[in-house]
Amino acid sequence: MRDDRKDEMGRRHFFRALGGGSVAAAAAITAQPMIATPAQAYDPGAEETKARYRESDHVKAFYRTNGYETLKKI
């Protein structure tokens, strides 16, 4: 029986080569020092957290109509 695939990279050779490469890559990664970075809490910024409420005429009308039966006596 003739084996034509001898020159090609066989399945086992392929995975062996792949595994070797992965180990080498992993070793390269772990060789780097693990540098801890400070945890960063979400900071939306001053513009996003600024006050938007204002006592406009619209809001004043809401307060007036909701307290119409009581606040008018104050």
Partner: protein, 198 residues
């Protein structure tokens, strides 16, 4: 600085659910999510009470305390908002919230619920005011327009109050004085002691 608060006068709420409908329509909230809901106690029995519930924008918000990615922030108006870009949909805030305010677009296990959605006090989100992206993610920004949350503004019986905490507390206090009795809410005496009549 004004602190934005909700206050539902349970003696006036008639469970019409207009606040729920107004909220869903104003912000185009998708199916399955209710930023606001009306809870009825002792339904059909004497002493029945309905309360409109949403995010209460807690001063020391438990949702923010448990969030593993710190996506919550409190504005200068004391409105608790969150960033959907940072939210991972873990669901911790839902377990922490005493009002059941956080909602999720999908039913699923950890991490598969989608981005959390909740009442924004009609104050939009971290994106720039009145932008399309802000509206798509968080709904309209009525507070920046000089208005108050629509749920409260369109309450037909004026049960749901919103706005400056001092102002709506004064309105409610005057109502209680006129009626001659308080809300009778559970925990009232614990919170305010028996010496406080109102």
């Amino acid at each position: 600085m004004a602190r934005m608060k909700f206050l539902c006068d349970a003696d006036r709420c008639i469970e019409c659910n207009a606040c729920v409908t107004a909220c869903k329509n104003e912000h185009e909230v998708p199916w399955g999510i209710n930023r606001r809901r009306v809870v009825t106690l002792n339904d059909g029995k004497p002493g029945e009470r309905s309360v409109s519930m949403a995010c209460m924008h807690c001063t020391d918000a438990p949702c923010a305390a448990v969030c593993p990615v710190n996506c919550f922030y409190t504005t200068a108006d004391a409105v608790v908002l969150h960033s959907k870009d940072i939210c991972i949909g873990c669901g911790y805030c839902f377990y922490a919230c005493p009002f059941g305010a956080p909602q999720y677009p999908k039913v699923g296990n950890f991490g598969s619920r989608g981005k959390m959605d909740k009442c924004t006090y009609c104050a939009g989100g971290p994106e720039s005011d009145f932008s399309t992206i802000e509206y798509e993610k968080y709904g309209s920004n009525r507070l920046a327009e000089g208005k108050l949350p629509l749920c409260a503004e369109m309450c037909s019986t004026k049960a749901l109050l919103a706005g400056d905490g001092d102002m709506i507390a004064e309105i409610y206090k005057q109502r209680v004085i006129k009626r001659g009795y308080g809300s009778g809410a559970w925990g009232w005496k614990t919170a305010y002691r028996e010496t406080v009549a109102i």
